[in-house]
């Protein structure tokens, strides 16, 4: 365990010798009255602050959460083994903080920022308290830049903007984590995957109460797809203490703020907040705070709202308003909280809370998932309340028709199940709808760039280029179309995301591209 180097030992001892004279430590101390289940009750600690870090000795720390008349209630950030009644507890005078900085990027750390990926220590000197102040009204600006998830269904119909809070909600095994991983992989397009590039979006994945194996899976997938170099993974697995699970999202957003406050863009995913609420409930009940609905404490709403309030789109001039906090303006934190539902029940306590806090939600449905629609996004009830203004203009125009087409299809599909005699127009709607549903299916870890998304959706919806193909050929033609576009119309693909408007000229160019592909596809 101990790996001492003579040079370090010498320098530490030298400092010690130089500063030996007259050193008297003054500290506030208390005595452990009771310890167990990860919480401790302490007598003394007169001047203890809220959420102050307490030193229990032997490298075990705790957070003071209940300041009572004659005792302090604290949760332990580690094992309570070896702590006994009557032990001395020292207050540190620091509120709980985590290390922040560039060196964290590409690493897997625990809730306290300690590396757990076996790749050596993280060399950081800056610490920030995990409970921070959310940006106020003047420091913010409206959401206006897009986050490209690379998922056609999301980018076209439920667009997410930088600084938005978009909930990802669904039953277990419906692809919630997969959606996040895809989004992270897609961020490589922003800066080539180089975290030093100021355009590169930094990703933070906070795993709360997840299985270690799942977390490992995510890390491996991110690594395989080249997304790990610009990602921070904060891991508080199911086996970690409730206190570690409780602070993990706050630790993650604090690490994200370091970048956002320097003008960078960050996407942070909390996977998942239901388990976070469970960890907080455990802590609260053990600290004898009064239980409320479903035994959650009264402040479980605030628990999540204060976390998600820290998502922000900062004004270009944020650093002029508050130079102490912001080093540069224009940064953003996009929050993607995940909530797991039980049997699709979105009206449970925690899901409704988080739905009301966020700026929209992406519903993932088990039925869709098992019928082969993946990503299993239910576009009918998924919404994005602010993302529309951040969407790429051309995409916005093109996606308008697909939304309408799909809505009509859903309505007709319900009827069509009963009768067989359908008129031409209805049949056309149904074919179109079926083709579009097929078109929105997408393989995992294969994000599609915006330009390519625009071309396929324009072909499928406005042009109806898929309508005369059998359903089984839709995927094949889509691939072929993208192949053609990439090789012969690369210029167009590059231009589409930056154009301010879908001009007739632009439309004509897309049409040429699609027809070209169609010709070569049918001759194959």
């Amino acid at each position: 365990m101990v790996d001492l180097r003579p040079a370090e030992v010498r320098s530490v001892l030298k400092k010690e010798i130089e500063g030996y004279q007259g050193k008297v430590g003054v500290e506030s101390v208390g005595t452990v009255l009771q310890v167990g289940d990860g919480v401790a009750r302490i007598y003394g600690l007169d001047n203890c602050q809220m959420s102050e870090l307490l030193d229990f000795g032997n490298g075990v720390y705790g957070i003071a959460l209940n300041l009572e008349e004659d005792s302090v209630g604290a949760v332990l950030l580690g094992s309570d083994e070896g702590i006994r009644e009557g032990d001395t507890v020292r207050s540190t005078g620091r509120v709980i903080s985590v290390p922040v900085g560039e060196a964290l990027v590409g690493r897997v750390v625990d809730s306290l920022g300690r590396p757990i990926d076996g790749r050596g220590p993280v060399d950081l000197k800056d610490y920030m308290p995990i409970e921070g102040r959310a940006a106020n009204v003047v420091e913010r600006e409206p959401v206006k830049q897009p986050v490209q998830t690379g998922i056609k269904a999301v980018d076209a119909m439920i667009p997410i903007g930088r600084g938005q809070r978009e909930l990802i909600i669904g039953d277990r095994q419906t692809g919630k984590t997969a959606l996040i991983v895809d989004t992270f992989i897609s961020q490589k397009n922003t800066g080539g995957g180089d975290p030093k590039n100021p355009d590169q979006v930094i990703c933070v994945y906070v795993a709360v109460g997840q299985k270690q194996s799942t977390i490992k899976d995510v890390v491996v997938k991110l690594q395989e797809n080249g997304a790990l170099p610009y990602t921070i993974v904060v891991s508080a697995p199911a086996g970690a203490e409730a206190s570690m699970q409780y602070i993990a999202p706050y630790a993650g957003v604090t690490m994200a703020e370091y970048f956002a406050f320097r003008g960078r863009h960050v996407v942070i995913a909390y996977d998942d907040l239901y388990k976070h609420a469970l960890a907080y409930r455990q802590m609260s009940l053990l600290l004898r705070r009064p239980p409320g609905r479903e035994a959650f404490p009264g402040d479980v709403f605030n628990l999540h709202s204060r976390l998600l309030e820290r998502a922000c789109k900062l004004s270009k001039r944020a650093h002029e308003f508050n130079p102490k906090q912001y080093k540069a303006g224009g940064g953003s934190i996009t929050a993607l909280p995940v909530v797991e539902t039980q049997e699709g029940d979105v009206s449970a306590y925690i899901p409704t809370n988080v739905i009301s806090i966020t700026d929209g939600q992406i519903f993932l449905e088990a039925d869709l998932f098992y019928s082969g629609v993946r990503p299993a996004v239910n576009v009918g009830i998924s919404v994005s309340r602010v993302g529309g203004s951040a969407q790429v203009p051309v995409m916005k125009k093109v996606a308008g028709t697909i939304k309408l087409d799909l809505a009509q299809y859903r309505e007709l599909a319900a009827f069509a199940q009963f009768g067989s005699d359908l008129d031409k127009a209805t049949q056309r709607q149904l074919t179109r709808g079926e083709r579009l549903v097929e078109l929105l299916k997408q393989g995992q870890y294969r994000p599609v760039a915006v330009g390519e998304q625009i071309v396929t959706i324009y072909a499928g919806s406005t042009m109806g280029a898929f309508d005369d193909l059998p359903k089984s050929a839709v995927r094949g033609f889509e691939e072929h179309l993208l192949q053609v576009a990439r090789t012969k119309y690369a210029e167009l693909l590059k231009k589409l995301p930056t154009e301010k408007k879908l001009t007739e000229e632009l439309e004509a160019q897309i049409k040429v591209c699609v027809e070209d592909a169609k010709k070569s596809f049918s001759s194959k």
């Binding site: 320098s11 530490v12 430590g25």
Partner: protein, 183 residues
């Protein structure tokens, strides 16, 4: 768990009553007598025995300590506590009252621990220094603890002044374990 909170309430009321009657020190010494009284196993058992009625309990406690009580206030507190089924609180009442009395006199009690016995002059010196630091007249109790190796450690309330060799060595150990090459 609740006993200290309850005894603090009773102590505050008793202290206010004692101040009105100008009997603060008398009540304090009465409470000391009560504290030694209830520490006797027979009396403690009687107070904690739920099958005894209030009259018997009062008779038992007063029988043991009445001769040593100088004020009626403490007799009343005993009766009141037993009537209200708060007899448990009598065990910690003296401590709670003592803290209040100290506070009102601007005094504080503390402990000083050292590896070797301290001389009278050293004790007075430390007391004076701590009095200055805390703004209260500090009275210290001295303990000798050889395991501290050297230096001394003084605790007043929840404030601790520590210059012991043991702590210094522990800190040095931490530093060495977390040392890293800089630059």
């Amino acid at each position: 768990m609740l006993a200290p909170v309850v005894s603090k309430r009773y102590a505050e009321a008793l202290f206010a009553a004692a101040q009105d009657a100008r009997l603060v020190t008398e009540v304090e010494s009465d409470l000391m007598a009560l504290a030694t009284g209830v520490r006797e196993p027979a009396i403690a058992a009687a107070l904690r025995n739920p099958t005894l009625d209030a009259k018997t309990q009062k008779a038992t406690v007063l029988g043991a300590v009445d001769a040593r009580l100088r004020t009626n206030l403490v007799r009343n507190v005993i009766a009141l506590a037993i009537d209200r089924r708060r007899a448990e609180m009598l065990f910690s009442l003296a401590d709670a009252y003592h803290r209040l009395a100290l506070e009102s006199r601007g005094e504080a009690e503390g402990v000083v621990e050292s590896a070797k016995a301290l001389s009278e002059a050293e004790m007075r010196d430390i007391e004076a220094t701590l009095s200055k630091a805390t703004g209260k007249r500090v009275r210290l109790q001295a303990h000798v603890r050889p395991e501290l190796l050297g230096g001394l450690r003084a605790t007043v309330g929840s404030l601790r002044y520590d210059s012991t060799a043991k702590t210094r060595l522990a800190e040095l150990r931490e530093k060495l374990l977390s040392a890293r090459i800089e630059g």
